[in-house]
């Protein structure tokens, strides 16, 4: 196995593109190293992207936030501006693993690991986040919901790396929230989850919204019907019930050791309702 730690994304992409064997990108390593130790993967090449400056920074600009692919969950949690603008995204990223894992894990890694239960992804999809992808043929921008194509699979081509993830500029009276269901209180994987991001108008009615569900389908589901159910409302009981029903209708989960189809479907609706209420409050709604 070869280990490389280049200092530019371009070189990293070239290394990955050139490799004939099995090549993996290493950011925090909280998925890759575990899988290597368990003998699930045996890489021929590991490209560590942590020495690439662009992957290490959280940058606030007029167009929003850019979060480097190697920025840890803990660093996001310590960034006050980011936390204030996108509390739902940050709380989702901070739910990954334990305190120790938080020091290493990254949102880009969480996304590229392509688990249907990834905690940060529903929040990112709800936030309309975009990934900056660098490959041998140059750069492109991909909506986060278009990165994962199925469990363990992404749309990234050979040699392509996510360099950073961007969150859009935050307009006034906006809020987001993420909730997951786990049987324990921590150190667990989402049985189902929901991310909600919304903006209110001057009267406190929901002007726009995005609702995304995790662990209820092969990929994170963006539920437009659920968003429609609350747009133009103050989240009265009726609209919340419609939101839950739309979420349930969008679920196509599996029965497995972590939960049943019925449970995942019903609780996804419950979580979306609860997350919507939190996002509404964060947006200043009453």
């Amino acid at each position: 196995m070869r280990y490389e730690a280049p200092t530019s994304t371009k070189v990293a992409a070239a290394l990955l593109a050139k490799e004939k064997g099995k090549a993996f990108v290493l950011a925090g390593g909280t998925d890759l190293l575990v899988r290597m130790k368990a003998g699930m993967v045996e890489p021929d090449l590991v490209v560590d992207i942590k020495r690439i400056p662009a992957t290490q920074i959280i940058k606030k600009s007029d167009s929003g936030f850019k979060i480097g692919a190697a920025v840890s969950g803990a660093s996001m949690g310590e960034n006050k501006a980011l936390k204030k603008a996108w509390p739902g995204v940050v709380e989702a990223a901070n739910l990954i693993g334990s305190d120790q894992v938080q020091g290493r894990c990254t949102m880009a890694g969480n996304l590229c690991n392509a688990s249907p239960a990834a905690d940060s992804v529903p929040a990112l999809v709800a936030a309309k986040a975009k990934a900056a992808v660098v490959g041998p043929k140059g750069r492109r921008t991909v909506a986060v919901e278009d990165v994962v194509t199925g469990p363990g699979r992404t749309s990234l081509k050979k040699g392509e790396i996510i360099e950073s993830i961007s969150l859009p500029k935050r307009v006034a009276k906006s809020g987001d929230a993420y909730l997951r269901f786990i049987p324990r209180t921590e150190m667990d994987i989402a049985v189902c989850s929901a991310g909600v991001n919304l903006t209110l108008d001057s009267k406190g009615l929901v002007k726009s919204a995005r609702v995304a569900l995790g662990a209820v389908a092969p990929t994170v589901v963006l539920v437009e019907d659920a968003a429609d159910a609350i747009i133009g409302t103050k989240l009265d009981d009726e609209s919340l019930a419609a939101l839950s029903a739309a979420c349930e209708a969008a679920c196509s989960p599996i029965n497995d050791k972590r939960g049943t189809v019925e449970f995942r479907t019903e609780v996804a609706g419950v979580l979306a309702r609860r997350a919507a209420k939190i996002a509404y409050q964060r947006a200043g709604g009453k």
Binding site: P183, M187, D188, E262, F263, E266
Partner: protein, 755 residues
């Protein structure tokens, strides 16, 4: 001349330091990482071993080809069952142990060991495992206890004929044994009942979940002598078992127990140690063998899953007039005693005229069950204590009052046979009734439950030495390894008896070459039995100290008394002699007869039974079925708490394990008979934030069979939590769960069904 055995009965003496809470002697090493556990031993030239395991739940092994693995550079030995020939001389129980360590022509569960390699490093060993070719013929399998009892179920052990039935069956079945306990006339009892409640329950399989995986370092030389460093609850028993299985002489195999990172019964059995010894013998090199967490789940010994029917009848005045139970426990792929133990404990808390429990020990294609803290009692108690609450409700009685009215007491004939002496079930129930926790207000979606539990406790073979150093410090050498602070408790006992400060005693756990046989640290016997042996070894020391003082004073030993830790010359004739301390006498020992030592060997009978009653508050989220334990109180009889910190620690630890079992822990098998969740991610033991602070109350009802009144305390408190939580969930969410674990999907389903 043979001495008479010392009197072990309770004497109600006054204590100076028993009951205090000094720090444990192993504490600093443990918090600084200096303590040596099973995987922390290294030997020059040691090899790394790995085990190849069956991916099938049930299969015939047609062939094992190890040639390519043996030829791989760096591989020093490959073993299969061929290298572990049957030397058991027709002892089927021993052959079962051997076959569980290494499959013999058939794989009986997912994870069953098939072959093993020892190589110069882990990478080479891993490669070698891949080069071993095993041909299987997959057979139909069964993993559910009720399915395994059906007529058409695949037979797991063709030689098994159900014992305990008359006439003896001619055909093989998966029911290894039927056993029955109880007394009175059940039918007449139910005929007299005003109310009868009948319920059926299921509990899923759980694992002890010790944090330290099994690990050992084995070394066998060409001269037939060997050493084994191992994490175990009983190195003397491991020595005897390993020596017998490998054809070694007991005295030539020295076994040393490491510090232990939890055992809870799971480290009372050998799982892979004979394999490590066989590899070392073949390679002529020391061999280190450690299990991964996945291997621990798949191939050590979890506790049974069960299926239980309960029927209780009571009269309008609140007396139970009949109680019957049928219990079905699976023991994995080999016969066990787990159903029988469950049946013995079923009705142990109650004073019953007519009671019966019938148990079936059943084989399934799962790993061989092992003891888990009060083995088999929690499942039976879940079924009984849930039903007791239902009967109380039907009678319109308070569940605590109903239990008090029916509780066993001194003189009660226990359902499993004996008549109780002084016992703690009544006092624990009274303490629960009067506990502030019972009166605390509850919030929305919250409910309170309580339940009782029983455990036998055990004594057994014990051997202890005390050696006095020339500086007056004392070395206490015991053979029961320390799982929960027993070195501190035993040091307190030695210090109490000798009249010296606790800090002057150092307690060590001896290897098998340095002390006589000791049974396992199991059955809550460590502090009970080694405590007893320590008392008598210390009194043996006092005898020597008096003799030495007599020699120093040149007076008759009968004129020397031992009072408050010093030799005192009795009588006016000796009033000019100042008392001699232990240190004074020790200093002179080289010239008064040499080393000062005491010894005791015993079979510690008289272990007192133990009872606990628990109170628990839970909050159930009605929309997700998630349960949070918000308050928990343990009341248990300790007989006498030698070191209250470690008694409370046992209460809390047992309750924590019971809470995990009640809410989330379970072995999940797929249709293919393979374990789906062999890891701590999906086998969910509670994390710290899942538990409230567990409050404890120690009661002390002396055990008449121990000089200090000690009862074992380690196990009983894992018995009540399943039912206590079930009863609390029922009161919080209005649904009763008859299936453990009460995981969120099960609770939500029940809530929806009740709508």
């Amino acid at each position: 001349m043979a001495e008479t055995a010392p009197d072990t009965s309770f004497t109600n003496q006054d204590f100076k330091i028993i009951g205090t809470r000094p720090p444990r002697p192993d504490g600093v090493d443990k918090v600084t990482g200096r303590a040596k556990y099973g995987a922390d031993a290294f030997a020059a030239g040691q090899l790394t071993a790995l085990i190849l395991r069956s991916p099938h739940a049930h299969a015939k092994i047609l062939s094992i080809d190890t040639k390519r693995a043996e030829k791989l550079k760096g591989v020093k030995a490959v073993v299969t069952c061929e290298d572990l020939p049957d030397l058991t001389g027709g002892n089927r129980g021993m052959l079962d142990i051997l076959e569980n360590c290494m499959a013999r022509g058939r794989a009986l569960y997912d994870g069953h060991a098939v072959a093993a390699v020892a190589a110069i490093d882990a990478e080479t060993a891993k490669k070698a495992l891949k080069l071993i070719k095993v041909k299987y013929e997959v057979l139909p399998h069964v993993t559910d206890v009720d399915e395994a009892m059906k007529k058409k179920a695949p037979i797991i052990q063709p030689h098994i004929r159900t014992t305990g039935v008359d006439p003896k069956p001619k055909k093989a079945s998966n029911v290894a044994a039927r056993s029955q306990f109880g007394h009175g006339d059940i039918e007449a009892g139910f005929a007299a009942a005003d109310v009868i409640v009948e319920e059926s329950y299921k509990t899923e399989q759980t694992h002890q979940g010790y944090i330290e995986p099994h690990a050992c370092l084995a070394s066998v030389g060409p001269d037939g002598q060997g050493e084994l460093w191992v994490t175990t609850q009983g190195h003397f028993v491991f020595r005897n078992t390993c020596a017998a299985l490998l054809g070694m002489e007991v005295a030539k195999l020295k076994v040393t127990s490491s510090e232990i990172g939890g055992g809870f019964g799971g480290k009372t059995h050998v799982w892979m140690e004979p394999v490590a010894l066989a590899l070392s013998r073949k390679a002529n090199r020391p061999v280190k063998l450690t299990m991964s967490r996945e291997e621990v789940f798949r191939a050590s010994g979890p506790t049974s899953s069960t299926s239980i029917d309960i029927k209780i009848g009571a009269t309008r005045d609140g007396r139970i007039c009949a109680a019957s139970a049928e219990l079905r426990y699976q023991g994995g792929a080999f016969p066990g005693i787990w159903g029988m133990l469950g049946a013995m404990t079923t009705w142990a808390c109650y004073d019953l005229e007519n009671c019966q429990s019938v148990a079936f020990d059943v084989l399934v294609n799962r790993p061989k069950s092992a003891a888990y803290r009060a083995p088999s009692a929690p499942m039976a108690a879940f079924a009984v204590e849930s039903t007791i609450d239902l009967v109380a409700a039907k009678l319109g009685m308070d569940p605590v009052d109903f239990r008090i009215l029916n509780a066993a007491k001194e003189g009660t004939r226990a359902s499993y046979g004996p008549t109780y002496g002084p016992i703690g079930i009544g006092p624990t129930l009274e303490a629960v009734k009067n506990h502030p926790h019972m009166k605390a207000p509850l919030g929305p979606n919250q409910g309170r439950g309580m339940a009782c539990g029983f455990w036998f406790n055990f004594g057994g073979q014990t051997c202890t030495d005390i050696n006095v150093g020339v500086d007056g410090t004392v070395s206490l050498t015991v053979g029961t390894m320390d799982v929960g602070g027993s070195r501190a408790s035993l040091s307190l006992i030695a210090a109490e008896e000798l009249g010296i400060p606790y800090e002057r005693v150092k307690c060590n756990v001896a290897d098998t070459a340095s002390l006589g046989h000791n049974d396992m640290t199991e059955g809550s016997r460590g502090t009970f039995s080694s405590g007893m042996a320590t008392i008598f070894a210390a009194r043996d020391v006092v005898k020597v100290l008096r003799n030495r003082a007599a020699a120093m004073w040149e007076i008759d030993v009968d004129d020397v008394a031992w009072e408050d830790g010093q030799a005192v010359a009795k009588g006016i004739a000796h009033s000019n002699l100042s008392p001699l301390s232990l240190a004074d006498i020790a200093r002179k020992s080289p010239t008064t007869g040499g080393p000062i030592a005491g010894h005791n060997e015993t079979v510690a009978d008289g272990a007192g039974v133990s009872f606990a009653s628990h109170i628990c508050d839970v909050e159930v989220d009605p929309e997700t079925g998630a349960t949070k334990v918000i308050r928990y109180t343990v009341v248990q009889d300790a007989g006498k708490a030698i070191h209250p910190d470690y008694v409370e620690g046992q209460f809390q630890g047992a309750a924590a394990q019971g809470i995990g079992w009640a809410l989330n822990e379970e072995y999940i098998y797929g249709e293919d008979g393979r374990l789906q969740n062999p890891g701590f991610l999906d086998y969910r033991i509670p994390v710290c934030s899942d538990l409230p602070f567990i409050d404890t109350e120690i009661l002390e009802i002396p055990n008449p069979g121990h000089p200090y009144g000690v009862r074992g305390v380690g196990e009983t408190s894992i018995v009540p939590p399943l039912a206590a939580i079930g009863n609390a969930v029922s009161n919080a969410a209005g649904v009763r769960l008859n299936h453990v674990p009460m995981s969120p999907p099960r609770i939500l389903k029940a809530i929806n069904a009740a709508k």
